[in-house]
Symmetry: C2
Subunit: 103 residues, 2 copies
DNA sequence: CTGATCTACAACCACACGGTTGTACGTTAG
DNA sequence: CTAACGTACAACCGTGTGGTTGTAGATCAG
């Protein structure tokens, strides 16, 4: 998932298709690169579960998947939580040590 | 930043050093790879701002940076927010359309 | 049917990544 | 001082990434 988001073009695509479903060619028109390149980016995002495609006639509509985003956000928050837990443990040790003799 | 987290070993390192500062060699001992490889991973994390190093004698202590984690978590939440905003807009359109004739 | 459009995929290229080994240098321990 | 330790860095290798072009199959418009 992180790899999927580790590219500016792909993050931009994710943002766009979260706002609105778009065909691959509609997306490709917005970037200064070939259709095939955009197609590959979409494929990477699809493999990462960040995006899904549905056919509509000859077009392939791409839409964002907010669930995965939320999952990753939660993971990062849990990392932050680890740190906060550690910080609290340090505070506890300092609080417990109210005897000025000990360091 | 995403690239920094786009590797299982690096995510594990981040988690460890958030819990507790550790020297590069102490980290290297825990993984089935060379010291140099771990050193490179730490360098990537450092470039991404996810981690910082401070010298202590001949050792180099690595510690995690929770601020960046929080920043990225906020970014992902804003993506999710985009989707929720869009979903709400759709709801509004449907609610406004209380005439059963129109689709 | 014919042609334009949208998509898929293969082949290719330059380059970065994740890993290795080897060498060199500063710092600590005996 | 010497040896061991912790680190830094360069060179190398296989593989994947981000990009290109080209070809081919569906689908729609006229």
């Amino acid at each position: 998932m992180f790899h999927g988001l580790a590219d500016a073009t792909r993050r931009d695509i994710v943002e766009r298709v979260l706002r609105e479903e778009q065909s691959v060619s509609a997306l490709a028109r917005r970037y200064a690169m070939s259709f095939a390149a955009v197609q590959k980016h979409v494929a990477v995002l699809e493999r990462a579960g960040l995006v899904s495609k549905t056919r509509r006639g000859r077009e392939q509509l791409v839409r964002g998947n907010p669930d995965i985003l939320r999952t990753v956000a939660r993971l990062l928050e849990s990392y932050e939580q680890i740190w906060r837990h550690r910080a609290r443990a340090i505070d506890d040790i300092l609080a417990e040590d109210d005897d000025p003799e000990r360091t």
